[in-house]
């Protein structure tokens, strides 16, 4: 039997049917990268679509975000000003006021629509702050924590003790103190929520970062000469992203609930309506007179939006996880 020689004269990779020279001009790596990304997104969308509950959540979210964005079109902002309220206060549903009116005679529907804007805004902004700080602290702590040198572990320890401190800071008392000193406003609420929720994200991200750090490609990057920044940005962060994304969506749900709580307690901006604030006012001034719609509308809205974010977050986890595993 004749044997294969090993001098390497032959092309070791079999390419049946494919000639060695490409016929068309070769696209640049960037163009190819874009095509790959688009294909990856299409695949992701196909997978996501299969999850019924995830789709439901997504639809609800889409509707709410659309309503929030289109608020000026859907309901005139004059409807928020009590001065222009001419209707009977605490009235039941009617054609002009489908959800009834509040204690000042303003349309509950208008309040709801504009409230969605503020609630979602606060929720998303606070989450953004929380995620940015949490991810940064988590990645840095995880990366430096896996260096055997003492300086690395020190960084990790310092960051984690700081995180622990923020984990135990009581949420409500902090909000009340800040509202008292800085004056009640949506900004205060965003600040409070952001400060108290980043720690949870940081811990989760750090755990994942530690796991990623043990993988051989980090060692390879070090051997290639990569500095800390390169390792964290090119390797750790992308592999932490899926977890972070799912965590973000779930955090938004929690943030909106937190905002609802704070506004309900009157720590938010008394002028800019949010659902929480509506709940608070309805509780105080509406329920007594039998105006349950004023209470139920924002209540159901909050429940729906939190549910929607939760469903989407879980669906994301389910879609992203098997892909991680098969890779």
């Amino acid at each position: 039997m004749n044997a294969v020689t090993s001098s390497g004269a032959t092309d070791p990779v079999p390419a049946p049917g494919l000639e060695s020279r490409p016929a068309s001009p070769v696209p640049t790596p960037r163009q190819l990268a874009r095509t790959r990304r688009r294909a990856a997104l299409a695949r992701f969308w196909r997978e996501y679509r299969k999850d019924r509950r995830g789709m439901f959540g997504l639809v609800v979210l889409a509707v709410m975000i659309a309503v929030a964005l289109a608020a000026p079109v859907l309901a005139s902002s004059r409807g928020l000003n009590p001065i222009y309220a001419t209707a009977t206060p605490n009235a039941g549903p009617s054609l002009a006021y489908p959800l009834g009116t509040d204690a000042d005679g303003r349309s509950v529907l208008t309040l709801l629509i504009w409230g969605s804007r503020n609630s979602l805004l606060v929720g998303l902004t606070a989450t953004l702050i929380s995620i940015l700080i949490g991810a940064l602290v988590g990645v840095v702590a995880g990366h430096f924590g896996s260096i055997r040198a003492r300086a690395g572990r020190l960084t990790d320890n310092v960051l984690m003790r700081g995180t622990d401190w923020f984990l135990v800071v009581p949420f409500l008392p902090l909000a009340m103190v800040l509202a008292r000193t800085l004056g009640p406003s949506l900004g205060v609420i965003i600040l409070v929520i952001g400060l108290t929720s980043w720690a949870g994200t940081a811990r989760i991200v750090r755990a994942q970062a530690l796991a990623v750090e043990t993988r051989p490609y980090l060692e390879r990057a070090k051997a290639l000469g990569a500095g800390h920044w390169h390792q964290m940005y090119r390797h750790v962060l992308p592999n932490v992203m899926p977890l972070l994304l799912a965590n973000t969506i779930l955090t938004v749900a929690g943030t909106i609930l937190a905002e609802t709580t704070l506004s309900f307690l009157g720590l938010g901006d008394p002028i800019r309506p949010t659902w929480g604030q509506m709940l608070g006012s309805a509780y105080e001034y509406g329920v007594g007179t039998g105006n349950l719609l004023w209470l139920l509308a924002p209540g159901i809205a909050v429940i729906l939006v939190v549910l929607a974010f939760t469903l989407v977050g879980h669906a994301l986890e389910a879609v992203l996880d098997p892909k991680l595993r098969e890779r």
């Binding site: 090993s6 001098s7 390497g8 092309d11 070791p12 990779v13 390419a15 494919l18 060695s20 020279r21 490409p22 070769v26 790596p29 190819l32 990268a33 095509t35 790959r36 993988r215 051989p216 490609y217 060692e219 390879r220 990057a221 070090k222 051997a223 290639l224 000469g225 990569a226 500095g227 390169h230 090119r234 390797h235 992308p238 592999n239 098969e326 890779r327």
Partner: protein
């Protein structure tokens, strides 16, 4: 080609041919100790005094069983680990561990790990994986360099592989990508830790042939860490056998395999298939690096000591009591062995 002689430390300068070329990378009296790593909380001495030279264009195989310290030694030579004492020298000068100097060193000495699947970031394409080195060191002509490296590693035409992801490639192709990623920096030495252990048996030969080809075309030297003696026979110019942190025998594969002088090497050779020697199967396992035996570190398992051959030669007390000094770095062609009994047997 010279034999060794003298004391337990054999061959120092006596009959060694003068080093023809200066080594490109060398480990000088390297000692690496990890605090608190052992099962019983003691300090583990992973590398216990090693001198090793790698000449330009030379392929050195570092063989030994798990726990012998060969991976730690390889990582120390790469600069990923700092020796507790001793130096790693490049082109004669000791390594500086400041980040700038270390980065420059990386362009000269590169790493290929065992598991090609783990070595590649699953989110990066082949192009990005190979270009990573280029970008870190801010070299120009990125695309040309990447294409050239991939071609040299047998992935032709390289453009066809640019946009592939690692999970779309076979094990052999992934390892080629890893080698290309190391090659793109134009290093002088490649440190390969079990480069073919995770690959299917029928493709191993191709990757080994690639290493030989790179040596022929680019003058690339290599330090191949492996427990597979057949691999050393296939591609190594020189072979160093490690046991519990120290090199116990070194020489060309012809010298070491045909006439093993250290009892450990003899035992390893005897259990290989088609071995002409009666198999000597050592009992037990290599001891913990936290508890290195006194005297010759191999003496608890040494068949020569157990059978009385050492006593007959009169070295038995030395085996249990006198520690052996570390072997000096050997030039090519010199065979050295670190054994009290072998020393008495002379050249």
């Amino acid at each position: 080609m010279s034999a060794s002689s003298g004391t337990g430390l054999s061959g120092t300068g006596l009959s060694a041919a003068p080093a023809a070329t200066a080594p490109v990378v060398s480990a000088a009296d390297v000692w690496v100790r990890f605090a608190g790593r052992g099962r019983h909380g003691g300090a583990a001495t992973a590398v216990d005094g090693v001198n090793l030279d790698i000449a330009p264009g030379e392929i050195v195989a570092l063989v030994g069983e798990s726990g012998c310290g060969k991976t730690t030694l390889a990582r120390t030579i790469l600069g990923l680990e700092r020796p507790t004492s001793g130096q790693v020298r490049f082109a004669g000068r000791p390594l500086s561990y400041r980040s700038g100097a270390l980065r420059a060193y990386r362009r000269q000495v590169q790493l290929v790990l065992q598991d090609p699947t783990g070595s590649l970031n699953p989110r990066h394409t082949v192009y990005e994986a190979v270009a990573e080195g280029v970008r870190i060191h801010k070299l120009d002509n990125e695309r040309a360099r990447v294409a050239d490296a991939l071609s040299r590693c047998g992935l032709r035409p390289p453009e066809r592989f640019f946009q592939r992801y690692p999970h779309e490639l076979s094990g052999g192709q992934r390892q080629r990508v890893v080698i290309a990623g190391a090659l793109v920096l134009e290093p002088q030495v490649l440190v390969a830790d079990e480069p073919v252990a995770s690959l299917d048996a029928s493709v191993r030969g191709e990757i080994l042939a690639l290493l030989l080809r790179l040596r022929r075309d680019l003058g690339l030297a290599a330090l191949v860490v492996t427990h597979d003696l057949g691999l050393a026979w296939n591609i190594a110019d020189r072979l160093a056998v490690m046991y519990l942190g120290r090199i116990v025998e070194v020489g060309t594969p012809e010298q070491v395999f045909a006439q093993p002088r250290h009892p450990y090497t003899k035992a390893l050779m005897s259990v290989l298939p088609e071995s002409p020697i009666e198999p000597i199967v050592l009992a037990g396992e290599p001891p913990d690096p936290t508890r290195i035996p006194a005297g010759c570190r191999f003496h608890p398992r040494c068949p020569e000591l157990a059978s009385g051959a050492a006593a007959t030669a009169g070295v038995a007390e030395r085996c249990t009591g006198t520690a052996l000094p570390a072997l000096p770095a050997a030039g090519s062609g010199t065979a050295l062995v670190s054994c009290h009994l072998a020393a008495t047997l002379g050249p």
